[in-house]
């Protein structure tokens, strides 16, 4: 590998990671799916956002883990499920939340990609942790998917759980150990 391509590689690598530490506006107010106004980033508690769509099979297979995380850190984090496909109908949203047992989880239809842009999320199911207006973690939930079409039989790394635990105990936040596999969030037209 030439020196130049190495430099390019390093720069692109830095660019990919530079969204961690990104600042988000804590005063941002949006409506959740029930029409209630919420401030996703304003609370003293850290926010954990999971980006999804109703029809991404990789994200859907992760739902049991998403529910597990929402339940096990209940009260200690501000947990939000963010639907990113602007074409999602009200009916698709309601059916998905009911079928997958997600009615208890605060959900947002981010049709204008306010949260996608604020956090830099690119993939479903990607997780972002924000505390005091700062992005502390962005990446995969765990290593269930090694690659496209290659789910693991046994999950051996729980990247998001480890990161949340670190944030809650004020420790250095470990970054994802591998690529986030899933569906790409399409850019708005």
């Amino acid at each position: 590998m030439g020196k130049k391509s190495l430099t390019v590689l390093i720069i692109s690598w830095l660019a990919a990671f530079d969204l961690t530490g990104q600042i988000v506006k804590t005063e941002l107010t949006i409506k959740d799916v029930s029409g209630k106004s919420i401030k996703p980033f304003s609370e003293a508690k850290p926010s954990v956002l999971i980006f999804t769509t109703y029809d991404c099979p990789v994200a859907n297979k992760m739902v049991p883990e998403i529910r597990h995380i929402a339940n096990s850190y209940q009260g200690r984090i501000n947990f939000l499920l963010v639907y990113t496909d602007p074409d999602t109908s009200q009916n698709e949203l309601t059916t998905h939340r009911k079928d997958f047992g997600l009615n208890e989880i605060t959900s947002i239809l981010d049709s204008k990609h306010n949260l996608v842009k604020a956090t830099g999320a690119e993939i479903t199911p990607e997780a972002v942790i924000v505390k005091k207006g700062k992005v502390l973690y962005r990446g995969r939930i765990n290593n269930f998917y090694e690659d496209f079409g290659k789910p693991r039989r046994v999950v051996t790394q729980h990247d998001l759980r480890d990161a949340i635990t670190a944030v809650l105990s004020g420790k250095k936040v470990p970054q994802p150990k591998g690529e986030c596999i899933g569906c790409y969030i399409p850019k708005l037209k």
Binding site: P64, D87, D99, G149, V154, P186
Partner: protein, 514 residues
């Protein structure tokens, strides 16, 4: 000299072709309507449309451009369309894999911003058949009751018996499977049972279905299978399975939890013919009995455990399909034929085996394999921790067995005798091959045991019995003959046997027998 030159010329040729392909694509804009839609509509939309297995539809510009980046990636990785046989000289019926040029076109389109192009150039969607792909079946049967599949957890393997109540023996041309809960049904293998075993097993268990058929052999027969994305095939020409009037259909299903609880009650269509076939056909399985006689023992951590088998054809045959079977740890499966004139034919090569996509590969045309052709199969397993499919973390030694966490491995060539050839010569010689495989393995095993000293044997037994790998044998891990003396051997009373305790017990036994 010739050998040295040959690859160079080939490379040059390839380069020229590549340059021209690239120039050709560079020359004009790649658009959806003109270039990408034909690829997607022909190869993806049959599953990616409402009512079929694909998780979302790919039927117009909006559907495809929204997922453009994903499509580019999964086609480049050859994860989609699902097709695991490598392209070779033999053409398969219903080959869904894309060509390199098609993949390049999709990539180029995504890289250049996914332009839609001239709407007048958009091809029509192919006329997809809704419902039964092979037409209205002669008999439609359904699982007796819905089977619940939970939202999460490990994959589920479950068998179901479906009585057919045929008025008389029938000639069966094809089975078409219509999955009910499409997101969770991954594959289904069909067999028939005239022994009543399936009904007995079904009655014994409370929840719908039963774990699996135990018996094989007389009265039980395999009838192919279905995997998500696969198209049903009729047996070629006049070939047909004989289905006895007292046969029950047995479905061995593989379910994948999808994230939401589901209930599955799939349907099966059967297609009969009144015309009896002129010849019978058979499956030549190498190694035989899914590898049961090949002494499969895959050490923990072993990256490429390999079993080979070969069989020389005693008559001319005409082959029409090939299939492969292994469990999670399977990595590479291939079958080659060396014809008497030295010509090599690669009948099937699966370089990256995926347990989830069981499929029978039908050749586009019958392949003539003359008497004296040597069939060779190779099965490679990867029992290292770097195999994401490994169900054990850390890896454990694995033996042959019917459970999905045991291993099996073999390739099966379906063929009929050539014109004027004797079917029984083929089948009796193949049966001889089965028994010889068993005898050879038994001899090798006996030889190994004589060579090893007693400690090695005890060690091996301990490792094998300690299924959870915690360095102790729990009561439920102990074989029945050991359970009776378990408490006596457990000298430190911790309800487990460590290696020292096992060794002491063995010594005691040996002294007593002296």
């Amino acid at each position: 000299m010739y050998r040295m030159l040959y690859p160079k010329i080939e490379m040059k040729k390839i380069l020229i072709v590549l340059v021209f392909t690239v120039l050709h694509i560079e020359a004009k804009e790649v658009t959806f309507t003109e270039h990408v839609a034909p690829i997607i509509f022909q190869n993806c939309t049959s599953c990616h449309r409402p009512g079929e297995s694909g998780p979302f539809k790919l039927m117009n510009y909006n559907d495809v451009s929204k997922r453009g980046k994903l499509i580019a990636r999964v086609t480049e990785d050859r994860v989609m369309p699902p097709w695991h046989a490598q392209k070779g000289s033999i053409k398969f019926h219903g080959d869904r894999s894309l060509s390199d040029t098609q993949i390049t076109t999709i990539n180029k389109w995504v890289e250049t911003g996914m332009p839609e192009g001239d709407p007048s150039k958009l091809p029509n969607l192919p006329k997809f058949v809704t419902g039964w792909q092979l037409g209205e079946p002669d008999l439609v049967v359904k699982m007796a009751e819905p089977f619940p599949v939970p939202a999460a957890g490990r994959d589920i393997y479950r068998s179901f018996v479906v009585p057919l109540n045929l008025p008389k023996d029938k000639w069966l041309k094809a089975i078409e499977f219509r999955p009910d809960a499409r997101t969770v049904v991954h594959h289904c293998l069909f067999s028939y049972d005239t022994t009543g075993e399936a009904r007995r097993l079904d009655k014994r268990e409370k929840s719908p279905g039963f774990r699996r058929m135990r018996r094989q052999g007389t009265g039980i027969g395999q009838l192919g299978g279905w995997a998500a994305g696969g198209q049903p095939n009729k047996l070629p020409e006049d070939l047909a399975w004989r289905l006895p009037s007292n046969a029950d259909l047995v479905l061995a299903m593989h379910y994948h939890p999808s994230g939401k609880p589901e209930k599955d009650q799939s349907s099966i269509g059967l297609y009969f013919t009144d015309q009896p076939p002129k010849t019978a056909f058979t499956g030549l399985q190498l190694p035989p009995v899914f590898g049961a006689l090949s002494g499969i023992y895959i050490p923990a951590g072993e990256k490429a455990y390999t079993v080979r088998d070969s069989f020389t054809l005693p008559i001319d045959v005409e082959a029409f399909a090939v299939s492969a079977h292994a469990h999670y740890l399977g990595k590479k499966l291939s079958m080659n034929a060396t014809l008497p004139n030295g010509k090599q034919l690669n009948l099937l090569n699966i370089p990256d085996w995926d347990f989830s996509w069981q499929e029978q590969y039908h050749f586009e045309e019958f392949i003539n394999l003359p008497k004296g052709t040597k069939l060779e199969s190779t099965v490679v397993w990867d029992n290292s921790s770097s195999n994401p499919n490994n169900p054990s973390v850390p890896p454990k030694p694995v033996r042959w067995g019917p459970e999905s966490e045991d291993e099996m491995g073999s390739l099966t060539l379906l063929c009929r005798p050539g014109k004027g050839e004797s079917f029984s010569t083929l089948t009796s010689l193949y049966r001889k091959h089965i028994s010889e495989t068993g005898v050879r393995t038994a001899r090798q095993r006996a030889g190994r045991i004589r060579e090893n000293n007693i400690d090695d044997r005890l060690n091996a037994f301990f490792k094998r019995t300690d299924r959870n790998g915690n360095g102790k044998i729990e009561l439920d891990e102990a074989p029945n003959w050991m359970k009776a003396s378990f408490a006596r051997s457990d000298t430190n009373r911790d309800k487990t046997l460590d290696f020292g305790e096992l060794k002491a017990a063995t010594e005691r036994l040996r002294n007593r027998n002296r």
